[in-house]
């Protein structure tokens, strides 16, 4: 059985290798090879899942040691995989949603001449993401961690003839590298503290280390998570990442890769449990981001960027839950999975809309699309109901639990975090209703473009509709399936641990408050975008709206401080290197005997003779000194 774990990764890796080196003769079948190998990986995952279910809850960990990776004295990194309930959950999410999105892309990328390469990158992503969640030590996890970063870089910049896409890809990689610094330092700290960075030794001995060390490790892991999961202050790349083809946004920048930070924190739970300050920092980052992303999501007219803000915000919920410790871990992962369904579904829906609208992304140029693309409308609508937490749908269960857990943290912190989570629920309801109304309701607002081409909205082909339908079904039922009878809790508890907090407010009060927030959010959005027609040109808006359109000025800050500052720094250093460092050395040489004068002459052709004479001189010096010694 353990060998299947290696095959799980090998299948998409093989696909990537074949598709990227295979050349043009694979152009006609490449997309099916990619889809098939992704599906094969999903089937392997299912077999392993059934196998795990057949075992006792305490014995659901499979370890597969492949080979010794970096053996150096005192430093042992192995290529070892660990499949337990946590990684199993991810495996099914990654390969399941991944396969659906492969299928969708067959239709979506049909007219792209580089479709084969696109599927090669998608397979590469799957392999790296599986490595990330299956690694048994942090260094191997790092390989997957940057592997998904590479795949993300390649896919954001897939249309790299567009300068905006190439810039966005570079930005994503760079911001993630800042996070990677955190991961690097965390691993180094683990090594000096525990003499190891494998999950077993680190997590089982965590309590023996000093709290200071654990806090440092925790904060560095948080930095890493901020980069990968687009959390404040490293969130700025996610909006730009929407330059990538929409299936990429759905798979990588919504359902899977961006949730890797949550995985990292939950996986390292033992470290965080013993480092309350680090936990507090995690909850603060989560709470700030869930509001930040939601506010940005309210102001965007680009449907994908609105959804990107939403993704940031929803991951904020997960990070918040993960920071709460054992009362939140399970719900962080549960929301991660349900979010994987509905957000992937929403993005695929957005892609379907764009597909029918000549790649238009501005929602102000949509309107009334529900009659033109009914399947997209219904599946998108179900995803919408799920994300705002409509009772009975997936998001209702998973988000409600997080809000409850936030209150259960207790004390002032509990009230603040819980309050932020509730407020976030209201804003979520607002911006998602706004997206829904602007896209599918009201009057049609699209116009012919400069060339007189008017979009002819139409439903997408079946190969795209099927994944949307499957994800919509998941958006509706997953939450209930997981929550009723606490199935998901019992499944994950052996790995993450679980404790009930002492909430100052009852569960029903929380649910009630959430419902009120939901209604308020929907109501305001209806008043603004449902009752009256949406203007085709965005009004100037309030100060907050304008700031939110610019991602709350994050990029402006980065530009002034980092980009400009960096340019000045490197430019002055180039000058310093040329005049000062080089000048001092040349000057010293000149001082030693008019070398600079000779240098000038040397350039006229005496160089060779000079070299020879210099060497001759050196040899003479040797001979003379040796002679002295001999005498």
């Amino acid at each position: 059985m353990e060998n299947l774990i290696a095959l799980l990764i090998a299948a998409p890796l093989l696909g990537a290798a074949v598709l990227l080196t295979g050349g043009r003769r694979l152009d006609r079948v490449g997309h099916w090879i990619g889809t098939l190998l992704s599906a094969a990986s999903f089937v392997f995952g299912l077999i392993l899942f059934v196998d795990l279910l057949g075992k006792n809850a305490e014995h659901r960990t499979l370890i597969k040691h492949l080979f010794s990776w970096v053996p150096v004295a005192g430093f042992q990194a192995d290529a070892t995989f660990r499949l337990d309930q946590l990684s199993m959950t991810f495996v099914l999410l990654i390969t399941g949603v991944g396969s659906l999105i492969h299928l969708y892309s067959v239709g979506y990328m049909e007219h792209d001449e580089r479709r084969r390469r696109f599927f090669g990158y998608l397979n590469l992503f799957l392999a790296a993401m599986l490595l990330l969640v299956l690694a048994d030590n942090y260094l191997l996890l790092y390989v997957g961690w940057e592997g998904v970063g590479l795949a993300s870089y390649l896919l954001i910049g897939f249309w790299q003839h567009k300068p905006s896409a190439a810039t966005a890809a570079k930005k994503a990689f760079l911001v993630n590298r800042v996070g990677d610094m955190g991961l690097s330092i965390a691993i180094m700290l683990m090594f000096t503290t525990f003499g190891s960075f494998a999950f077993g030794p680190v997590l089982s001995h965590a309590t023996q280390a000093s709290e200071g060390k654990l806090t440092a490790i925790g904060l560095m892991l948080l930095l890493a998570a901020c980069g990968k999961s687009a959390q404040v202050p490293l969130q700025s790349w996610l909006g730009d990442a929407m330059e990538g083809p929409t299936p990429v946004s759905a798979l990588i920048h919504a359902a899977t890769m961006v949730t890797a930070g949550v995985y990292l924190i939950v996986r390292s739970g033992a470290v965080f449990n013993a480092a309350p300050d680090a936990q507090l920092a995690v909850t603060v980052v989560g709470a700030v981001t869930l509001l930040f992303g939601a506010i940005v999501g309210c102001a965007k007219d680009d449907i994908k960027k609105a959804l990107a803000g939403s993704t940031m915000s929803q991951i904020g919920y997960m990070v918040l839950a993960a920071g709460l410790g054992p009362i939140g871990y399970v719900f962080a992962i549960m929301h991660l999975v349900t979010h994987g369904f509905f957000k992937a579904g929403l993005f695929l829906g957005a892609g379907s809309v764009m597909h029918g609208m000549n790649d238009e992304v501005d929602m102000r140029k949509y309107g009334g699309l529900r009659t033109y693309m009914p399947v997209t409308f219904i599946t998108f609508g179900l995803g919408y109901l799920a994300i705002i937490g409509f009772p009975g749908l997936s998001g209702f269960f998973s988000k409600d639990k997080i809000i409850e857990a936030a209150f259960a943290k207790g004390g002032t912190e509990g009230w603040i975090l819980g309050g932020a989570a509730l407020l976030g629920a209201a804003i979520t309801a607002f911006y998602m209703t706004r997206v829904m109304l602007m896209t599918f309701f009201g009057e049609k607002r699209w116009q012919p473009d400069e060339n007189g081409n008017e979009p002819h909205p139409h439903e997408s082909p079946r190969v795209m509709r099927i994944p949307m339908i499957v994800l919509a079904v998941g958006s509706v039922f997953a939450g209930g399936l997981f929550s009723i009878g606490d199935r998901f809790l019992h499944w994950l508890e052996p790995v993450t641990g679980h404790s009930e907090g002492h909430s100052p407010v009852s569960a029903w009060t929380v649910t009630g408050a959430t419902m009120v927030c939901l209604l308020v959010g929907v109501g305001i959005a209806w008043a603004q975008y449902g009752r009256k027609p949406v203007p085709a040109v965005a009004p100037r808006g309030s100060l907050l709206t304008r700031a939110a359109r610019r991602d709350l000025l994050q990029d402006d800050f980065n530009h002034v401080v980092l980009v400009r500052g960096g340019e000045h720094l490197t430019r002055s250093l180039v000058y310093v290197d040329h005049t000062l460092v080089d000048g001092v050395v040349n000057g010293t040489a000149a001082g030693f005997g008019g070398l600079s004068g000779r240098l000038r002459r040397l350039q006229n052709g005496f160089a060779r003779s000079y070299a020879v004479s210099m060497f001759g001189g050196a040899a003479l010096l040797v001979a003379a000194t040796l002679l002295m010694r001999a005498v």
């Binding site: 940057e146 300068p163 760079l174 590298r177 610094m181 052709g605 160089a607 060497f615 050196a618």
Partner: protein, 523 residues
């Protein structure tokens, strides 16, 4: 007496160089093939060394020892430890690729130009450099080492000064002047370093009475050879200075960008991937072994300089407008990592540094050779002259990206393993320095990806729209390097197995043990 394998490995390219140079001018192609075959045969001998070497055996193996200059106790002594074996293998491996990549670099210029380009000489000089580099890795006699360490400057000088990129934006005359400047600068820097080392070599002889590395090291370890603290420090500095010029370490680095910029890409690879490695190798072999106490004394200063190299080199790379200068500054940053790993005085740092030398050789070769193919197509080294190349030449762009990703130490590719080992090995003893060095990974991503973005992506510039993709010969050069980068990233064990025992010896030379983790976790 057994077959002198080490002598043969170094002598073969030397003899090959002489014969190649003697090929008549009209038989240019024959000279190229001869040089390639000689380099391949040398590779075969190097592989034999690799196979015959027993990592768990004696420290120095395949030793040869003959009296040479009896009066001064100079002996022709050769021997290799794991570190030397790894670098010999790297050198012998890279030379055939360098020759193949430079296949047309030294052809006579088009009719109308009066410049004479001695094709045979180009390939003979490359083989001559190989021979001298190999014997530098093998020599266990300080004097023998010194001779070849210095002598390799001569063929290098002619390679830099005599052969530049074919098309030059300012015309052939300007190019020739700049080349001469770069070549002389290279020569003067290294000669000054060499002369200071010479003084130290003589000083060492005065103190120890012979030049044998093993004898002196043993005498020092057993206490029979006492060296006054100040004497040891001065001698150490003399050796270290020469190696720091060669490596090169900030602020002695300014010759490298000029040399790499003016030389053809294969020669630039020869400089940075092969010749410069002698400097870092010699720090491990001679500085630490002969002067252990002085090495520890100088460690803080050297670590700071290497840290400056890492950050400064990377920042300068970000600011470059010339592709080859950018790679040169990136190399300065990487040499900072290597030197930092050596002087961190931990097993991880030193194993990492040795692995880094190997990996950096391969990754720089991949990046620089593809850059050379690119430059030869467009006739310009300026980044701004490119744009959208990936549309016209996707395979070239793809291999360039992989070379770049190796340069930024992407996990999964070989350089990641060595860079992380260096970082963790440094962090274990000097946390603050380790953390600051980590900034290097962000800056490396910056200069690499900016270079890729500006040259390969965006709208296709008219000048590059008809650019041909990689040819078969070029693919033969690049593909094996990429395969190696992936292989050594996934499975570096073959190299670490050879290197680890040698590093253990070096660690005991300097009487250092690795810091213990604060919590003893069950492994």
């Amino acid at each position: 007496m057994s077959f002198p394998l080490l002598t043969a490995t170094a002598a073969l390219p030397a003899v090959g160089a002489v014969i190649t140079a003697a090929v008549p001018a009209a038989r240019r192609t024959a000279a190229k093939w001869l040089a390639l075959l000689v380099s391949l045969a040398t590779l075969a001998l190097a592989v034999t060394v690799l196979v015959r070497f027993d990592p768990d055996g004696a420290r120095y193996q395949l030793t040869e020892s003959h009296a040479w200059i009896k009066d001064f106790g100079v002996r022709y002594e050769l021997g290799v430890d794991g570190i030397a074996v790894a670098l010999i293998a790297l050198t012998a491996l890279l030379i055939p690729f360098i020759i193949l990549a430079g296949w047309n670099d030294a052809d006579p210029l088009e009719t109308g130009s009066r410049r004479w380009r001695p094709t045979q000489g180009f390939f003979a000089l490359i083989l001559a450099v190989e021979a001298m580099v190999l014997i530098s890795f093998e020599a266990t006699d300080v004097f023998v080492f010194y001779i070849f360490f210095e002598a390799m400057l001569i063929p290098m000088y002619f390679l830099i000064g005599g052969f530049g990129d074919r098309a030059h934006e300012h015309g052939e005359a300007a190019a020739s002047t700049q080349r001469s400047y770069a070549a002389v600068k290279f020569l003067l820097y290294n000669l000054v370093g060499g002369l200071i080392m010479l003084a130290a070599v003589i000083g060492l002889y005065v103190v120890a009475g012979n030049f044998s590395l093993q004898e002196i090291a043993q005498a020092r370890a057993s206490g029979s050879l006492h060296m006054a603290t100040n004497t040891e420090r001065w001698l150490f500095l003399g050796f270290f200075f020469a190696f720091a010029v060669k490596a090169p370490l900030w602020p002695l680095h300014t010759w490298l960008p000029n040399a790499m910029q003016e030389a053809t890409a294969p020669v630039a690879v020869l400089i940075t991937a092969v010749v410069d490695k002698v400097g870092t190798f010699a720090m491990l072999r001679f500085c630490l072994q002969l002067f252990p106490e002085a090495s520890k004394w100088a460690t803080p200063a050297i670590l700071v300089l290497s840290l400056i190299s890492i950050v400064y080199g990377a920042l300068l790379a970000v600011g470059q407008r010339d592709i080859k200068r950018l790679v040169a500054y990136a190399s300065i940053s990487h040499f900072g990592f290597i030197i930092m790993g050596i002087f961190a005085m931990t097993s991880q740092g030193q194993s990492g540094a040795t692995l880094y030398m190997v990996n950096h050789g391969i990754s720089t070769a991949a990046l620089m050779l593809v850059a050379g193919f690119l430059i030869s197509r467009r006739g310009s080294r300026l980044i701004a002259d490119y744009g959208g190349v990936q549309k016209a030449a996707p395979v070239l762009a793809g291999t360039f990206l992989i070379g770049g990703l190796a340069t930024l130490s992407l996990p999964g590719l070989a350089p990641f393993v060595s860079e992380f080992l260096v970082l963790v090995g440094t962090f274990a003893r000097y946390p603050a320095i380790g953390v600051i060095a980590t900034f290097g990974i962000v800056l490396a991503a910056l200069y690499t990806l900016v270079l890729y973005q500006r040259t390969m992506t965006g709208p296709v510039k008219p000048e590059v729209s008809a650019m041909p993709d990689l040819r078969a010969r070029e693919l033969v050069v690049v593909a094996p390097l990429i395969v190696l980068l992936i292989f050594l990233g996934v499975y570096p064990k073959p190299v670490t197995d050879i290197v680890n025992p040698a590093v253990k010896q070096t660690m005991s030379d300097v009487h250092k043990t690795d810091p213990k983790p604060s919590v003893e976790a069950a492994k």
